[in-house]
């Protein structure tokens, strides 16, 4: 009696595991009826699995989970590092390819407006195209984000339930369509009708220098409108997802304080969704700044910097790459890659700024609630 528990406590795991499997099969059916031995056997049978089970089984279970854990951890780690490596590789590629072209450049790469990288004495700068990229993307954001947020709010707050789910479905579908499809529509159908809008803007808002124009045509404004249409569905779909995440409890809290629907949105929905809407906008901005074909087709590819947004002029970095790559020589391609590097850096700066805005009130973000 006294030796058995001691020995069983000292036995190595395999034996313990074996002895743990034996008593349940032997104990109850055969030794159960005899009175003298069964009580002493059954406490052992009970204590052994209870004492052994955790010590005997745990390492096996842990080892199994441990292996899978380690494998999975390393897989995800590899994926994470692969992403970093990819970013570094892209940056290195851009820098290496651009260096030679920048060396032979006779102009200041950041401020020069001209783009003659294929000449015997290359002179080029990213000034005009960078200006065009920023201006068209800004116009697109100013037009698209408020409308997208409005769509998302209508779907999540105002629309009756059936309409809301139908619209949500449609917006998700639209967001999945490649933006170039909207770009082509904007280009072929919408842009021709923009002349009237631009003339109207010039007539009534012409006293603002931005809308002052000698003539209107394929302008930054039209490109911005086309870009706005391209990014609208994705920003709207993501914003809708964000607003759906606002807990009913917060919405009801606002309503119970006597908030109207709009006050409820301002008190509970918008502040809670703000980081998500910013992220959605950044995705839209990335698309707008990187969009190539639609912009290349709209803008006249002139290298000028003008604040008159309605006048036919302008180019963007992405459109310039698309337009110029085919006929570029070695230096010309290096110059285009250098402009790509600028786009890369600008995108990163904008994202860092957006993250800083989100992080500024992180403790008020509701993630801790």
């Amino acid at each position: 009696m006294t030796t058995e528990p001691d020995s069983s406590a000292d036995t190595a795991e395999p034996r313990g595991a074996a002895s743990a499997t034996v008593p349940p099969t032997d104990g109850p059916p055969t030794d159960g009826p005899p009175s003298g031995e069964s009580p002493s056997a059954s406490p052992n049978a009970l204590t052994e699995p209870a004492g052994k089970g955790p010590t005997g089984k745990a390492p096996i279970g842990n080892a199994k989970v441990g292996t899978a854990d380690v494998v999975f951890k390393n897989l995800t780690r590899a994926a994470g590092f692969a992403l970093l490596a990819l970013i570094v590789a892209i940056a290195l590629f851009l820098v290496l390819k651009a260096t030679h072209a920048l060396d032979v450049n006779k102009g200041n790469f950041l401020t020069t407006k001209e783009w003659f990288p294929n000449d015997p004495t290359p002179k080029f700068g990213v000034g005009a195209t960078l200006f065009g990229t920023v201006v068209t993307a800004a116009i697109a954001m100013i037009l698209a984000v408020p409308i997208a947020v409005g769509i998302a709010l209508f779907i999540t707050v105002y629309a009756p339930r059936q309409l809301s789910s139908a619209l949500g479905y449609v917006v998700d579908l639209l967001a999945a369509v490649p933006s170039v499809v909207y770009g082509l529509w904007g280009l072929i159908v919408l842009a021709p009708h923009m002349t009237g809008v631009q003339l109207w803007l010039n007539d009534y808002l012409g006293w603002i220098p931005l809308f002052d124009a000698d003539s209107v045509g394929r302008s930054y404004f039209v490109a911005g409108v086309v870009l706005a249409i391209m990014i609208l569905p994705i920003v709207a779909a993501l914003s809708r997802e964000v607003f759906l995440q606002v807990p009913i409890a917060h919405r009801e809290a606002a309503l119970a304080l006597g908030a109207t629907r709009w006050e409820m949105i301002r008190t509970a929905v918008l502040p809670y969704g703000r980081p998500g809407v910013i992220s959605a906008s950044m995705l839209g901005l990335g698309r707008a700044m990187g969009e190539t074909i639609a912009v290349a087709l709209v803008l006249p590819a002139s290298f000028s910097i003008s604040g008159h947004l309605l006048e036919p002029a302008g180019n963007t970095i992405a459109a310039n790459v698309a337009n110029g790559w085919g006929e570029a020589n070695t230096v010309g391609r290096g110059a285009l890659i250098a402009s790509g590097l600028v786009l890369f850096i600008v995108t990163m700066l904008v994202n860092i700024a957006a993250r800083a805005i989100v992080a500024r009130r992180r403790e008020f973000s509701g993630s801790s609630a």
């Binding site: 009756p160 339930r161 807990p247 409890a249 917060h250 009801e252 809290a253 606002a254 309503l255 119970a256 304080l257 006597g258 908030a259 109207t260 006050e263 008190t267 509970a268 502040p271 809670y272 703000r274 009130r361 403790e363 008020f364 973000s365 509701g366 993630s367 801790s368 609630a369």
Partner: protein
């Protein structure tokens, strides 16, 4: 300040589903009235009809009358937004606005009412937080996020937010069900204090709580799942818990049912 509520022939629906049928009761001013009953009996639904929060849910509607000092909350031309400014509400789970500080949470309702003067807001914040027994714990960190408080503190913050707009009635929907016993006790103490200023209606699953804090108790029940809930008995709390008229009430409060 405090107000009598008369409910007559109240029936509440969620779409086609009749949740509560034909409720009649009168809630006395400056009293604590508890709604008890098994899950699904409609006690929370009835509570939410008292400040027109029921109809916030899609498809939900109400028949019957709820008179607040003689004025029908569901009368023509009655704006639910105004009703909710008169009848405040505290929810089951503490729900301070996570994007706001403690201070901003308390004044959220006041800002909706257009109060902008800093001095007045400061004064109301202190008053309300003191009224909710929370002032001493948070007075040094009013600009910290409200969501950073403990569950019990968050619930008292929500009570402060509700009383800051000086409602006449305070509705509480299982205010302690997400809280530990110490925090629950703090809320119950608070309810005892608040009833000198407000008419309070509280829904609770905890019968001890109902017997501790309330002056009158309404027992709701339903025949079987899918049937509408009904008011079985409404009387002084002491009578409901010691000598109820209805057998079903007795079964429930003595723990033999539900």
């Amino acid at each position: 300040m405090a107000t009598r509520i008369e409910v007559t022939g109240l029936t509440a629906y969620y779409g086609k589903f009749k949740a509560v049928s034909d409720v009649n009761l009168t809630i006395e001013p400056k009293n604590v009235t508890a709604f008890i009953g098994p899950s699904g009996c409609g006690k929370s639904t009835v509570l939410r009809t008292l400040n027109r929060m029921h109809e916030v849910l899609p498809g939900a509607r109400v028949e019957g009358r709820v008179l607040l000092d003689g004025e029908d909350l569901y009368g023509a031309g009655m704006d639910p937004v105004n009703v909710r400014r008169t009848v405040g509400m505290v929810f089951q789970r503490p729900n301070p606005f996570p994007t706001m500080s403690i201070y901003e949470n308390v004044i959220a309702g006041l800002k909706l009412n257009g109060v902008r003067k800093k001095a007045l807001l400061d004064e109301r914040v202190e008053e309300s937080l003191k009224g909710a027994n929370l002032w001493d714990e948070v007075k040094d960190r009013l600009n910290r996020p409200g969501a950073g408080l403990s569950g019990g503190q968050q619930q008292r913050l929500c009570i402060a937010r509700a009383i800051a707009v000086e409602p006449q009635v305070l509705l509480m929907d299982e205010p302690c069900s997400a809280l530990d016993p110490i925090s629950t006790l703090a809320i119950e103490d608070l309810i005892n204090k608040l009833k000198s200023s407000f008419t309070i209606v509280i829904v609770t699953h905890n019968m001890q709580q109902a017997s501790r804090v309330s002056d009158a108790t309404a027992f709701f029940s339903l025949e079987k799942t899918g049937d509408p809930g009904r008011l079985v008995e409404f009387d002084k709390t002491s009578k409901i818990f010691t000598n109820p008229t209805e057998k079903r009430t007795e079964d429930y409060v003595s723990g033999r049912f539900g």
